[in-house]
């Protein structure tokens, strides 16, 4: 495997109504996707406190994916828009502390878009693989 056998560890916060269902469907439909992503289910991406993202990164996650319903299709009307604001606000901070903003990603994946869910997971895993281990993880000597 590229990058000296580095296997990224990714935490994904998925909303119950859209992306989590899509992930479920992708699984049931036996769609192939890398096993590097661990899912934390939340009712809405609006529930994702930036502290959760920082916690995951601090514990050694190489990337964090936040994924929910498309704008305008939020089960709670606009929780996903709040999530977008929070993610956008967090990105410059991640850049400043040296983690890099590319390790945090926000994606809209509707419940019906199981193939897209698998694609996003595969593509994000590959991006993180290219970026290499998170600086936090390197310092902790986890690898």
């Amino acid at each position: 495997m590229s990058n000296n056998g580095f296997e990224p560890r990714i935490v994904a916060f998925m909303c119950n109504w859209c992306t989590y269902s899509a992930a479920d469907t992708a699984g049931v439909s036996r769609m192939q996707q890398p096993p590097n992503v661990d899912i934390v289910r939340v009712m809405c991406t609006g529930r994702v406190d930036p502290a959760f993202i920082l916690k995951a990164l601090a514990l050694g996650a190489d990337g964090v994916l936040v994924s929910g319903c498309h704008p305008g299709q939020c089960h709670y009307q606009k929780g996903n828009l709040n999530a977008r604001r929070r993610v956008m606000a967090l990105k410059p901070f991640l850049e400043a502390v040296g983690i890099g903003q590319d390790r945090l990603r926000l994606e809209w994946v509707a419940a019906s878009e199981a193939p897209k869910e698998a694609e996003v997971v595969a593509e994000f895993t590959e991006t993180i693989r290219q970026l290499g281990p998170s600086p936090f993880r390197r310092r902790q000597g986890d690898d």
Binding site: C18, M43, G46, V48, A61, G72, Q73, R86, A111, E113
Partner: protein, 589 residues
């Protein structure tokens, strides 16, 4: 009330009626050309002459203009009346020797040959003035009028020139008793073409509807068009329907209303749309009027439709060969991958209708016959016995041949050969799809849509009518293609579910709600603006916010935003989520 005697018969009449009207009411026939109940009396044709023998002005008088009087005695068929009518009809027949209406009337009065020769034997106008008065009194366009005198007298627009004042409504052609006026379909004159559409401006959209109420197509109605065109200056044009409606049911002032209702449950039944087959060019839809969709075929074969239910080609002839192509836009990765489910059965029914009404040869191009419902397979067998040719294989292409015939090409999978059928009419069994504005309905009710575009049910097997939004239910094709029996069953289930929810009188709410630790709340009110359900309120006296658990849906947006960490989402607490994250990293990957 007045009493008079017509042909020795004592009759009663209202003040203001004419002799003609009273006679007609009492079943006494008086011939006339220029009288029309919607128009003012005119007295032009003179055919309605009667003889007044007592009361009033004695002698021959036109009954359509003569108001009744008490004690009037009238003869409608006296020798002098008949003689007068013979003279009039002789002159009319000399003017228009080839008009059947006049020939028939003349024959009734013993005239078989025109007494005078004519240079213009094709003349059809009898100068009754129906058209002139319709244009002036009803349409209020004042385009037509008489010009010249004597034998030169004729009808036309000013100086017999084309005029922009004509709105092309066609009322004059309808009112003309002899078919002397023809509408020439010049581009500017055609107001709105409606192929296979309604045939008049007032029509009943569904003959089976209860109550069966007609609607006015305001784009075609003369009254609305004149109102629009003159910006309200001519607001009282036509109104023929209003004059004729005995129930006094015509109301031109009705307008769309927005009605606000407070309800407990909502059933979304916004249905489907037919897919436009022009998007797949191989079917040549739009290139020949004889390539029609299944829906257009239904209109054609409808007894209330333009042909009165006869199945005819655009040339007005009975087709000799008809091809029906299944799965147009369905089970096709260039359009919709799904099966539209209804087309197999309606195509079979249409094959039966064509066989039954025209006896034409029918070719059905199908991939698989999905006769899935009760008694459907038996129906399929019946159609097989009606000498319909079934070609197993998708109809691949429709070509319009130079002579206007249509060539359908497809692969017959049973023969393993490419086959052609030259036909007069092609019916495309087009796919059904979600309405084009389904996304707006989805965001209005917070519904999600499945990959095919139809609304997603809460669970494909266990909760087929519910959605993920509490109290919003689905009925029929909004959830996916289905035929009438399935739609009725699905809608019945949705209705029962709605009643069950209402009948309970209370709702069970999810325990996943946000709670505020009032000791920690700093009353910053950040959460207030974020809550999409206005479930959080500020309690002035205690200087804290509180969550209304009945309104809260548990999304957790407020929890994530609370700077003081005072709000907790039950079952999704910070501690639970952080523990999950920690758990992920406890074991090395």
């Amino acid at each position: 009330m007045a009493t008079l005697i017509i042909d020795g018969q004592e009759v009663h009449a209202e003040e203001g009626q004419t002799i003609l009207e009273v006679a007609r009411e009492n079943g006494i026939e008086i011939p006339t050309l220029c009288y029309h109940p919607l128009l003012e009396p005119y007295g032009a044709c003179r055919l309605c002459v009667v003889e007044i023998v007592a009361g009033g002005r004695p002698g021959l008088q036109t009954s359509c203009t003569y108001p009744i009087e008490e004690g009037l005695e009238v003869l409608t068929r006296s020798p002098s009346v008949v003689e007068a009518r013979r003279v009039i009809l002789g002159l009319l027949l000399s003017r228009t020797p080839n008009v059947e209406l006049i020939q028939d009337l003349a024959r009734e009065y013993g005239i078989t040959e025109p007494p005078f020769p004519t240079d213009t034997p094709d003349e059809r106008c009898v100068l009754c003035g129906h058209c002139v008065r319709t244009c002036a009194e009803l349409v209020k366009a004042h385009v037509l009028n008489f010009s010249e005198r004597g034998i030169e007298r004729r009808v036309g627009p000013p100086f017999l020139e084309k005029t922009r004042q004509c709105i092309g409504c066609g009322a004059c052609t309808i009112m003309c008793p002899t078919g002397a006026i023809e509408i020439v379909m010049e581009r500017d004159a055609v107001y709105k073409e409606k192929p296979l559409g309604p045939t008049s401006a007032i029509w009943v959209p569904s003959m089976q509807a209860v109550p069966r109420v007609p609607v006015i197509d305001t784009d075609a109605c003369i009254r609305f068009r004149q109102d629009d065109r003159t910006e309200g200056e001519i607001a009282d044009a036509c109104g023929a329907c209003q004059m004729l409606c005995e129930a006094d049911a015509i109301n031109f002032d009705q307008e769309d209303e927005i009605i606000e209702l407070e309800v407990g449950t909502i059933v979304v039944a916004t249905g489907f749309e037919m897919w436009d087959p022009a998007q797949l060019s191989q079917y040549s839809y739009g290139k020949s009027p004889n390539i029609i969709t299944g829906m257009e075929f239904e209109r054609l074969s409808n007894a209330g439709g333009v042909t009165g239910g006869e199945i005819l080609t655009a040339e007005g002839k009975k087709p000799e060969r008809v091809a029906i192509i299944h799965c147009v836009g369905s089970r096709d990765h260039n359009a919709h991958p799904y099966c539209s489910r209804i087309c197999c059965m309606y195509s079979l029914k249409q094959a039966h209708l064509v066989r039954d009404k025209t006896g034409a040869e029918v070719y059905e191009f199908y991939m698989d016959m999905r006769s899935f419902g009760k008694a459907y397979e038996e129906f399929y067998e019946r159609i097989q016995e009606e000498d319909v040719t079934f070609v197993r294989g998708r109809g691949a292409e429709v070509e319009v041949l130079p002579d206007g015939k249509l060539r359908v090409t497809g692969e017959d999978a049973d023969l393993g050969q490419v086959v052609h059928a030259d036909v007069d009419m092609v019916v495309l069994s087009t796919a059904i799809e979600a309405p084009h504005d389904a996304d707006r309905v989805a965001s209005l009710f917070g519904l999600s849509r499945s990959e095919d575009g139809f609304f997603a049910e809460a669970h494909p097997k266990m909760r087929p009518v519910e959605t993920n939004t509490d109290g919003v239910l689905l009925a029929g094709t909004v959830q996916g293609p289905r035929d009438v029996p399935d739609t009725v069953a699905h809608a019945g289930a949705a209705a029962s579910m709605a009643l069950a929810l209402l009948d309970k009188g209370e709702v069970t709410i999810s325990p996943q709600v946000a709670v505020v630790d009032e000791k920690l709340c700093s009353a910053c009110k950040t959460c207030l603006s974020l809550c999409p359900y206005t479930a959080i309120s500020f309690i002035e006296e205690e200087n804290v916010v509180r969550v209304n658990e009945a309104l809260c849906k548990g999304c957790g947006t407020c929890v994530a935003s609370c700077p003081a960490g005072a709000i907790t989402a039950r079952h999704f607490t910070d501690r639970q989520i952080l523990a999950q994250i920690e758990g992920l990293f406890r074991v090395p990957a």
